[in-house]
């Protein structure tokens, strides 16, 4: 049975980004029905029952998050839309925002109606210029057609959506970092508790949701929970803390593949299928060596490593919220699959990872600020052929001790900074040791210029 995309259904249609096109496909009917016929709590309950888990990376149940808001709060309550999509190789939100902005906006309207929010802040990363312009045009269209503003369609529901451009920092994707940045401050994540649902933007209760999550809300409200639950992976009965992974998911495929792209598939597709079938296989006729299941902060899998007591390798793990965790990765993350081919030096991969996190660490907590910088210095040296065997142990030690899991930092950036380092070294240790022993340099002056824009 072939899978019909829903979230991406309208992509590439003419006028997909315009209100008229969206209306033509039955858009905003769900919102209007909900506004007329449903109570906010019914919307919350439906989203909660659908089992929708946040698509931003952590996979926190969306409806449950909404219920954390204080009951009968006099307001204002804010919704922040997290479109600071900065995880390397992740671009699923971008496609939604550029090609189908009204789907996102309908999700925002439904969410705001559900949580009784009258002001939504759409935090979009600076680099997404096209998405910003498309969204702004879509918001203007909604205002012009009475879908946003005061007393929407005579129901007494008010909603304003403000589009806010970030200034280009990965840490703004952390929900409290986003809130601080939105408030005009340095994006230093806040200490929790209080969580944003209690005290968030401008010290008021705030819900922060990802763009794709809100698109899922639109589809859930339109097609119902049965449709949503017909896809994906039910909860693992052996794991009481597993909430299951239902629904469609946008996977982005990048790296050394023939056809890098964003595809929509039901949750739980295997990594092998995703790369080999949807990504067109590894490029240049090579084989995959390591694959990253969901943005580099989730760690890497060794394609050839056998999973204990089975014929499968780590390549065969399902990409649902639990799959990557079973092979030592942090989680599904943003479901951005990056493929590393067998001709690539793992030291270069490691260096790339360290460079990114050293650059993006906000510098607030000591373990992360100094740890990411130190790891970069070590890998820099390793690339120059001056690595030492003990460097690998230092890297693992440093990577292991930072993060909210051991409790040494405020936010999860450092867990994400440490995870790829330790998974790479643990899974490819022999290659690292061999490279250190040989003293091979992998620093090249610069790559040839491919083109300008």
């Amino acid at each position: 049975m072939s899978f019909e995309p829903t979230l991406l259904a309208r992509v590439n249609k003419p006028d997909s980004h315009r209100l008229v096109g969206y209306r033509g496909d039955g858009g905003y009917a769900t919102f209007e029905t909900a506004l007329r016929d449903k109570k906010p709590v019914e919307v919350v309950n439906q989203v909660k029952d659908s089992g929708l888990r946040g698509r931003g990376g952590a996979g926190f149940p969306c409806g449950l998050k909404w219920t954390f808001l204080p009951k009968d709060h006099p307001g204002p309550i804010y919704l922040c839309i997290n479109a600071d999509e900065s995880e390397p190789c992740t671009y699923n939100n971008r496609i939604l925002m550029e090609k189908d902005p009204h789907q996102v906006l309908e999700g925002i309207m439904l969410a705001c109606y559900a949580i009784k929010c009258e002001r939504a802040y759409f935090y979009i990363r600076y680099e997404y210029g096209t998405a910003y312009r498309v969204l702004q045009a879509a918001i203007d269209e909604c205002y012009a057609n009475g879908l946003l503003g005061k007393n929407i369609q005579g129901t007494g529901f008010n909603l304003d959506v403000y589009l806010h451009r970030g200034a280009g920092a990965y840490i703004c994707g952390e929900e409290t970092g986003l809130i601080e940045s939105l408030e005009g401050k340095r994006a230093w994540p806040r200490i929790k508790p209080p969580f944003p649902a209690i005290e968030g933007a401008f010290r008021k209760p705030t819900i922060v949701n990802n763009v794709e999550t809100l698109c899922c809300v639109t589809q859930i409200m339109r097609r119902g929970n049965d449709w949503f639950k017909s896809m994906g992976v039910p909860p693992d009965p052996k794991n009481p803390r597993d909430a299951g992974s239902y629904g469609p998911k946008l996977y982005t495929i990048a790296g050394h593949v023939n056809e890098p792209k964003c595809v929509e598939l039901p949750m739980g597709v295997s990594m092998r299928e995703l790369v080999e079938k949807h990504g067109g296989g590894v490029w240049k006729g090579r084989k995959a060596k390591a694959v990253n299941p969901g943005g580099i902060s989730m760690g890497f899998v060794d394609v050839n490593a056998k999973i204990k007591d089975s014929n499968l390798t780590e390549y065969d793990i399902p990409l649902d919220f639990n799959g990557p965790g079973r092979v030592g990765c942090l989680g599904l993350g943003t479901a951005a699959v990056t493929v590393v081919d067998d001709q690539t030096s793992m030291i270069d991969v490691l260096h790339n990872v360290c460079q990114f996190f050293a650059h993006e660490s906000c510098g607030q907590c000591t373990p992360c600020r100094e740890g990411t910088g130190w790891m970069l210095k070590i890998t820099d040296r390793m690339r120059k052929g001056q690595g030492r065997r003990e460097d690998l142990d230092i890297l693992i030690d440093v990577a292991d001790r930072m993060g909210i899991i051991p409790g040494t930092t405020i936010c999860g950036l450092s867990d994400g900074a440490g995870w790829p380092v330790k998974t790479l070294i643990r899974k490819f240790r022999s290659e690292f040791e061999e490279a250190i022993k040989s003293g091979r340099r992998s620093v090249v002056k610069s790559l040839p210029l491919v083109g300008i824009h």
Binding site: H359, S361, P367, T372, K377, E390, I394
Partner: protein, 562 residues
């Protein structure tokens, strides 16, 4: 009633809302920290105060398998805290029922050592040339909690220093550990937010905004707040190794707030003043006027010897001769026309000194007139925080008072007792102008030269005796000039604007032949022995009801008189 267990030791914290650092303090357990400061918001970023935490329920302890920042984590009834110092716990207390597999303090100790390794990675370790060495929290904690060696073989980051940060403060950027106390201070207490963090990750630096140096009147506090040697006071820079300094508790004399201070001196030279935490006086901080206002103490311009007029010249003669000559002269006036004798008591005198002077004179004759000396007033009370435009905002966290003297209330209480009311200085001047005053003892002790410039036109037959720190219009006309002493050379009590009596302690000798005013008045009154503030205090506490509370000595943080 809430009981918290710190390294097994139960502490009752009542209904107070405390964090783990504060709760541990109650059990005499110090949790090391850098970024946490009780007067600033909590950011929990230095990660030095990491502790292990759990819950005691039904006699069973459940520990959470991670570490927590102690400064940010609140405690409640039954909270169990295990700090990195668990091995140094009070072993007389029976241990709690931990899980047998749990090793107390294992995690916390490692986490603290790891944090220190991180902080020291890019720290230049230039302790031999660093002013903070000896009182540096980075040294102390590294010694106590850190590892002995570094594993870094790569180059350290070497950001350039920033001497242009402020006219009074310099930044050794590479020593900074990014605790951001200074940044929070300028945002929350002084308010004008001159400092900020620039750049990101391990390239983060403390910086100012271009062209806007850190020049507010509370700026000096960032140097005290800095737990390492990153922010240095240019006033103190490279002057003295801190281990040579002897720290004495004292009171700032620059305004009537009367900040509690530490006077750091070596060999009779004051090198710096630091605020001493006192919630009853000023809190944690002090202003730069006070902080840098001690230089008069070691000025070479000071009056250092008693001077007596011979013809039209003031000639230095030995103290005892001068005192005797003055006493004879003054007491003659007292005998002949006591009603025409004035003594002006300066608000820079301590309570004891004012008392001794008044006691001596009133003992000679009830008709002697006592008046309050010049009370310097500059502008209006200056409150902090201020906003970016310099307008004060509420709630007020620090006040620099317009009244630039430390002890008006104390001297007034003495005057009220002896004179019945506080006679203003203007009356004495008028009386002298009319030729009614025959002899005036004018006490000063003003730290700024030129403050004591009354009696500009002295009637010819007026016998004027002056005690002051610097020469000025008054000493030029005086027949007798005695050196006055300043706060670091006195023992005694100052009463601040709110009636808080605080003790000054002597840290330096007065210059050359100077004697403290207390000793001077004792010598004049021919009281035997050396001046002892505590003895005099007992005497005056018994005599003047206002000071009754001083009879039993003065606690470290002072005592409220009303």
């Amino acid at each position: 009633m809430a009981t918290v267990y710190i390294n097994d030791k139960p502490v009752d914290i009542g209904t107070e809302r405390l964090n783990c650092v504060q709760a541990a303090e109650r059990a005499d357990v110090h949790v090391p920290h850098y970024c946490y400061h009780p007067s600033l918001t909590v950011v929990a970023s230095c990660r030095m105060c990491l502790i292990e935490m759990g819950d005691l329920k039904d006699g069973k302890v459940t520990m959470i398998p991670k570490v927590f920042p102690g400064c940010q984590t609140p405690v409640k009834d039954g909270t169990v805290i295990v700090t990195g110092d668990y091995a140094k716990r009070d072993t007389s207390v029976p241990p709690l029922a931990y899980d047998p597999k749990y090793v107390p303090a294992d995690r916390a100790k490692k986490a603290q050592a790891d944090t220190l390794e991180g902080i020291l990675l890019n720290h230049p370790l230039d302790c031999p040339v660093c002013d903070k060495a000896g009182e540096c929290k980075l040294q102390d904690y590294s010694f106590e909690y850190g590892r002995g060696e570094t594993r870094l073989v790569d180059e350290k980051n070497q950001p350039p220093n920033k001497p242009e940060l402020s006219s009074k403060i310099t930044l050794f950027t590479d020593r900074c550990i990014m605790c951001t106390r200074c940044v929070r201070f300028t945002r929350e207490v002084s308010g004008q937010a001159e400092l900020q963090v620039s750049s990101r990750g391990h390239h983060s630096e403390i910086d100012i905004f271009p062209g806007e140096p850190l020049e507010n009147k509370l700026a000096g506090n960032v140097v005290d707040l800095c737990p390492v040697g990153a922010l240095g006071s240019k006033d103190f820079l490279y002057k003295q190794r801190v281990w040579y300094l002897k720290s004495t508790d004292s009171v700032c004399n620059r305004c009537s707030t009367g900040c509690s201070i530490h006077v750091d001196a070596n060999k009779d030279v004051v090198f710096r003043l630091r605020p001493r935490e006192n919630p009853q006086a000023q809190g944690y901080f002090m202003c730069d006027e006070g902080r840098h206002g001690y230089h008069h103490a070691d000025s070479t311009e000071r009056i250092a010897r008693p001077l007596v007029r011979r013809g039209d010249k003031l000639v230095a003669i030995p103290y005892l001769d001068a005192a005797q000559e003055f006493r004879n002269d003054f007491e003659t006036h007292l005998r002949l026309h006591p009603g025409a004798v004035w003594a002006i008591l300066s608000p820079f005198l301590t309570v004891e000194e004012a008392y001794l002077a008044a006691r001596w004179l009133k003992g000679k004759s009830q008709q002697v007139k006592l008046a309050l000396g010049h009370v310097p007033m500059v502008g209006e009370d200056d409150t902090y925080p201020k906003d970016r435009r310099g307008r004060p905002i509420q709630p007020v966290k620090f006040t620099i008072r317009a009244e630039k003297c430390p002890n008006r209330l104390g001297v007034e209480a003495v005057l009220r007792h002896f004179e019945g009311s506080v006679v203003p200085l203007a009356k004495a001047i008028e009386s002298a102008k009319r030729g009614e005053a025959k002899a005036v003892l004018l006490t000063g002790g003003y730290p700024d030269p030129g403050t004591l410039n009354v009696f500009a036109e002295k009637p010819n037959d007026l016998m004027l005796a002056v005690t002051d720190i610097f020469h000025g219009a008054a000493t030029a006309l005086a027949k007798y000039v005695f050196p006055a002493t300043t706060f670091s050379e006195k023992e005694g009590v100052y009463v601040n604007y709110a009636g808080l009596a605080q003790a000054l302690h002597r840290s330096c000798k007065p210059p050359l032949e100077g004697r403290s005013e207390g000793q001077f008045f004792m010598d004049l009154a021919q009281r035997n022995g050396l001046f002892n503030a505590a003895t005099i205090r007992k005497e005056l506490a018994a005599e003047i009801r206002y000071f009754a509370k001083l009879a039993d000595g003065i606690p470290e943080l002072g005592v409220k008189l009303f």
